[in-house]
Amino acid sequence: MILTYKVQGGDFSNAGKCSSEVKKVLKQLNIEPKIIKKVVIALYEGEVNIVAHAYHGVITVEIDTKQIKITLKDEGPGIPDIEKAMEQGYSTASPIVRELGFGAGMGLPNMKKNTDYMHISSQVNEGTEVILINYF
């Protein structure tokens, strides 16, 4: 099963809608609740990152019998130093993102914590691709 969602940068009121829809699908598929929670929390942080930092992005969720693979691909400013971005507490988020309750430099570490595999590739001034995999 493949699900695709478009995410608009700056659309803060809808941030999390994709994660919410994916959660509903995973529940319908009777996937273990613990795995659902981990997947949607990692996805939500990634979705908020697209809204907060990118111009627009596409989230693809591929579900098979062994794993859930999520690809978050955006067009945006990119991440100049991925290692630094992964540090707990490091953030380049704007004040508006912080007002929403995000932007404290916890997103990427939270995504890593909740997934079995995470890979980030990024080109400055082009965009970022994040791959998240959770195995069953």
């Binding site: 941030a15 999390g16 994660s19 959660k23 929390i41 939500y44 309750g101 995000f102 916890m106």
Partner: protein, 116 residues
């Protein structure tokens, strides 16, 4: 032993805005935060979130982190979008005139446990 949500609502002088049918539920743990990423680190179920933040992301965060109860402190305005999303996701919404600090203290005295 859990603490009943109706007792919590009375103790914080609370007004219920959504899902009052859950007032008979009991819970064991509370977490006070305005930082949603921090809320997303919680592993426990049956948690109540106490927050001073009043945007739609607080309910989204509860939905995705499986948190069924929320208290908005200091009479923060609860708009229709918050109520609608809370009803859709079966989240009990309580508004209290007290500060996050006072609400947290009251719940602690009632026997609600901290997470960290």
């Amino acid at each position: 032993m859990g603490v009943k949500l109706s007792d919590i609502t009375n103790a914080v002088n609370g007004t219920v805005y959504a899902c009052k049918e859950y007032l008979d539920d009991e819970l064991e743990y509370a977490f006070s935060s305005d930082l949603m990423s921090d809320v997303l680190t919680i592993d426990k179920e049956d948690v109540i979130l106490i927050t001073g933040l009043n945007n739609i992301q607080t309910i989204r965060t509860c939905e995705l982190a499986e948190i069924k109860y929320i208290i908005y402190a200091r009479n923060k305005m609860i708009n229709n979008d918050i109520i609608k999303l809370a009803n859709e996701n079966k989240i009990l919404v309580i508004q209290s005139p007290y500060s996050v600090f006072k609400v947290s203290g009251i719940l602690y005295n009632l026997g609600v446990k901290p997470i960290y």
